[in-house]
């Protein structure tokens, strides 16, 4: 404003406009609360047993930065190709987007980026002298080997079978997890210089005593023993264990299945067996003692099995096997009804007296569970229930021996095995460098589930002032800023094509679909530079950052009204009392 005007008291401006500059009383002086840009924990991150930064890799995918997204996954898990296909994705079950329409397909996004090469080749940070024996090459063993190798340790993996992968290779059929995909993930681990001894069974080919002399041992022997059906005739010809069947199939061994095959069980093994049997030309029939909503198998797998025309005898338990000349000819069953829930929350099946019936079958596959081979373990290691007892860092009752995955007391899912492998690797490293795991509990666990993040461990010296250890709840998300948008479906190959062979059923996303799906992400608790705070600030007191979370506050003008925090779609701004 001109000084001449200000100097002339007779000339008023037409409206009440101050002559003087008001910068002595900028709106910032009104403030007693101040917004802070924070980084909370998204529910998907909190729910991922592998400790993945899900929100982070979905953001990078949405930006088209696929290699960086893959790199981020590889910080935590060496199995993006595997998890993108077979994980039961608890991340999606916890997705806040469900309150608006449907969870985003995190697995689909992970699968998409897994086909790229990471931005930087994975290599050890520095060479360390300690030697570690990893027993078992399933997801737990290989993840442990991967992280230890990255930390610079000398790792040897002992595998009983002829090829690496454990249950990933022996248990999961190729139509769900093509061998090339598995080989790619494993190949990436091996480039770190991990030594591998296949067809080498710990406790038999190498005595436990010898292994105990190593600097550390990770027991990841899995659960490969077959649970008994507990009925007469389990040794008849035509009766097979599910894992035996799948193992033989997946290793390319000859199998003779009957024409009409009953598969007993309701878990993933049962579904895999049924769908594999169908592809081999048999007529599978699943016999399950409860109802569909009680099935422990992954829901999508059950759905696909039913689409393929697989029959299920619900609410039926096997009673005995019929035979002729030593070969099975029938399965006698009894009908159940469901009674009160057991301690696991599932209704208990109770046989209805007199309801017996017989299924004419010439093959039976039992898939009622797998057991840890507790007979072949280092002497006097403590067992808890049916698995090796471990503490929250995977330590067993023996010095320098860790365990995890199916062999430990972890949930029997691939992603839990990956988490267990990493947890053991981190715990071993902490042990070697003399770090207290109590401190690590505070620093490297993500949210209340306590899953371990290697990124957090490696970056714990760079204090992130934005980090707030709070998981974003559905009600924290400002839904006003989101439009409903359908989840992008994954294409599957033609049904007729499906049942004729072992081609992969799901085709995954193309680039357009993955972009669309990634853009459905709310980015709970994490700034994605959406600019809502900037646009809503009545004082223009927010300056947009160049990277997410780097927005700046103009403290001279922010009057602490809180509109930014209220409007932030993803709860990444908190209001705090100013000190």
């Amino acid at each position: 404003m001109s000084n001449e005007l200000a100097a002339d008291p007779k000339r008023l401006p037409p409206a009440s406009i101050t002559f003087s500059d008001m910068s002595w009383n900028r709106t910032g002086s009104w403030r007693y609360l101040k917004p802070r840009f924070v980084h909370k924990i998204s529910p998907c991150n909190s729910a991922c047993p592998a400790g993945n930064d899900v929100e982070g890799f979905v953001f990078l995918t949405g930006e088209g930065r696929y290699q960086e997204a893959l790199q981020l996954i590889l910080e935590e898990s060496p199995f993006p190709g595997v998890c993108g296909r077979v994980c039961y994705h608890p991340c999606e079950s916890s997705c806040n987007r469900k309150t608006l329409d449907e969870a985003i397909s995190i697995a689909g996004i992970e699968r998409f980026v897994s086909q790229y090469e990471p931005l930087h080749p994975t290599k050890p940070e520095k060479a360390r002298q300690r030697r570690i024996a990893v027993v078992g090459s399933g997801p737990a063993g290989l993840t442990c080997a991967y992280h230890l190798a990255k930390l610079g340790y000398r790792v040897t993996v002992f595998e009983k079978a002829t090829a690496l992968g454990g249950m990933l290779r022996l248990g999961i059929p190729a139509y769900r997890l093509p061998r090339a995909i598995l080989d790619r993930d494993i190949g990436r681990i091996l480039t770190l210089g991990v030594e591998v001894k296949t067809e080498c069974c710990a406790g038999r080919d190498v005595p436990w005593q010898d292994l105990m002399a190593w600097d550390a041992v990770f027991l990841a022997i899995g659960a490969h023993n077959v649970a008994s059906l507990g009925i007469e005739g389990e040794r008849l010809e035509g009766v097979l264990a599910g894992t035996t069947f799948l193992g033989a199939l997946n290793m390319g061994h000859p199998i003779s299945l009957g024409r009409r095959v009953a598969i007993i069980g309701g878990g993933n093994t049962a579904i895999d067996c049924a769908r594999a049997a169908l592809r081999l030309g048999s007529q599978p029939l699943i016999v399950y003692r409860r109802t569909r909503d009680q099935m422990p198998a992954i829901e999508a797998e059950v759905e696909e099995a039913l689409q393929e025309g697989i029959e299920v005898e619900w609410l039926a338990s096997p009673v005995s096997l019929r035979s002729k000349n030593g070969h099975v000819t029938g399965l006698e069953c009894i009908r159940n009804r469901l009674t009160e829930a057991d301690e696991g929350g599932r209704a208990r099946p109770q046989p209805i007296p007199g309801s017996e019936f017989t299924l004419d079958v010439d093959g039976v596959i039992s898939a009622v569970g797998e057991l840890v081979d507790t007979k072949n373990l280092p002497g006097n290691i403590r067992i808890s229930g049916l698995a090796v007892e471990i503490d929250s860092w995977g330590r067993t009752s023996l010095q320098r021996v860790w365990a995890g995955g199916d062999a430990g007391t972890d949930p029997r899912m691939v992603v839990h095995a990956i988490g267990a492998g990493k947890r053991a690797a981190l715990s071993m490293h902490a042990h070697f460098v003399g770090e207290d795991t109590a401190a690590l509990d505070r620093e490297v666990r993500v949210g209340p589930n306590g899953y371990v993040s290697m990124q957090r461990y490696l970056n714990r010296d760079a204090i992130d002032v934005k980090a707030v250890p709070e998981v974003v709840k559905p009600e924290d998300v400002n839904l006003d800023h989101f439009e409903p948008m359908d989840r992008v479906g994954s294409r599957t190959i033609d049904l007729n094509e499906r049942v004729r062979g072992f081609s992969e059923v799901n085709e995954g996303y193309d680039e357009q679909a993955v972009a669309q799906e990634a853009h459905r992400c709310f980015h709970c608790g994490a700034c994605d530079l959406c600019g809502i705070c900037f646009r809503f600030c009545p004082d223009l007191a927010i300056k947009m950052g160049d990277v997410p979370g780097n927005n700046l506050l103009d403290e001279f003008y922010c009057k602490g009204c809180g509109i930014c925090a209220e409007e932030c779609p993803r709860s990444a701004i908190v209001m705090e009392r100013e000190r």
Partner: protein, 383 residues
């Protein structure tokens, strides 16, 4: 270029030609076509303006007030309940001396629910500090928008251009749309002396508790006074350039008239027909069209109506408990005349879209000349 346009679209064309920079509006019948067309112009590039969608008319006015204070030429349009919802911020626009231009498409207020024309909405805003102009045709609507910006920016007051709902808004007639070059020559860019500038912060609308408050209020009244002459000049300049003159009022066949009709809006056209036909029969009847209601054209009223015997004022609204608003104001204008006063017959007619036909107007003329003195302040037609 001549085009067949509805009144709403004539307004949109006027706004486009004035190169409005910020437009915020909320839809309401019968105004919606105006901003619908403007939003399309903004979208397809015919008009380089920011179109802000808002959740209410109150916000629409608040938006354009902010934009105007920041130095933009702004526009909004509304009608009926939208206008009365703006009431609070109308005072703000005038108090802050912002040259906001708004089209109000006259529509009555509910209940009973009714979307048709009368002047209740704008008559209720006479005290807000806005210049009010009423138009008779679609051509006048377009031309008045262009004039309005030049008046508003010169006297630093907001201008409301009122056009009758449906009679103009939704009725098409031939409109001569001026060339952009000519309008650019007529209307210079808006360059306010004071504007919001984050590089040079000052308080706008600062608290003012002393005699300066009175001075600022008086400033608005002085600007209103000044705007009469400014409007005359602007109308003259406009007419010289485009060939169409409107004036602040328009006298029609007043020579020797004993009874004079006073109208605003489209009833003027109907009244012209009545005046012509009665003149043919030898009746001494004339017509005064009120184009400018605020500021009130006292001098013109006194000069043009002072010699008549009877004045028939047609109000398309009522100030409940008083009479028609325009009639009351005409009475007050004539009161200070020396000597004999014309008698003012205040007719309330055409409320809520009730048709006002030539027979109604003839009836008024005959009633005035027969009765000589009005039986009461409000005389209802068509009840």
């Amino acid at each position: 270029m001549k085009k067949v346009l509805m009144g709403d679209h004539a307004v949109s064309q006027g706004v486009r030609l004035c190169r409005a920079q910020v437009i915020a509006a909320y839809p309401i019948t019968p105004q919606t076509f105006i901003v619908e067309e403007l939003s399309e112009m903004c979208a397809d590039g015919r008009l380089d303006a920011r179109f802000i969608m808002v959740e209410s008319e109150h916000s629409a006015m608040a938006c354009v007030i902010g934009a105007s204070a920041a130095g933009s030429r702004v526009f909004t349009a509304t009608s009926s309940h939208g206008l009365v919802l703006m009431h609070e911020v109308l005072h703000w626009a005038a108090g802050a001396r912002l040259p906001v231009v708004m089209a109000n498409v006259n529509r009555t207020l509910g209940p009973p629910w009714n979307i048709l024309c009368d002047h209740s909405d704008s008559m209720a805003q006479r005290d807000t500090g806005w210049i009010q102009l009423y138009v008779e045709s679609n051509q006048e609507a377009l031309d008045t928008v262009i004039q309005a910006y030049r008046i508003a920016e010169q006297v630093q007051l907001p201008v409301m251009v009122n056009l009758d709902g449906f009679f103009l808004s939704h009725t098409a007639e031939v409109v001569d749309v001026p060339d952009q070059q000519q309008v650019d020559a007529f209307l210079p860019a808006f360059t306010p002396e004071f504007k919001l500038d984050i590089e040079d912060p000052h308080t706008f609308g600062a608290m003012c508790l002393d005699s300066n408050f009175m001075r600022l209020r008086q400033g608005i009244q002085q600007a209103m006074d000044q705007s009469r002459e400014v409007t005359v000049q602007v109308d003259k300049a406009f007419g010289d350039m485009f060939g169409r003159y409107y004036g602040v009022v328009e006298p029609y066949r007043l020579d020797g008239a004993e009874t004079i009709l006073v109208t605003a809006g489209t009833v003027t056209s109907t009244s012209r027909v009545v005046v012509d036909s009665l003149r043919e029969k030898g009746e001494p009847v004339g017509l005064l069209k009120i184009r400018m209601l605020r500021p009130f054209p006292f001098e013109w009223i006194r000069a043009l109506l002072g010699e008549a015997r009877q004045i028939a004022v047609i109000d398309r609204s009522i100030s409940y408990g008083l009479s028609g608003g325009l009639a009351a104001e005409i009475r007050s204008a004539l009161y200070d005349l020396e000597g004999a006063h014309p008698q003012v017959f205040g007719y309330i007619a055409g409320l809520g879209g009730k048709d006002l036909v030539p027979e109604d107007i003839e009836h008024m003329v005959f009633q005035c000349s027969e009765q000589r003195r009005p039986p009461r302040e409000d005389l209802w037609i068509g009840v």
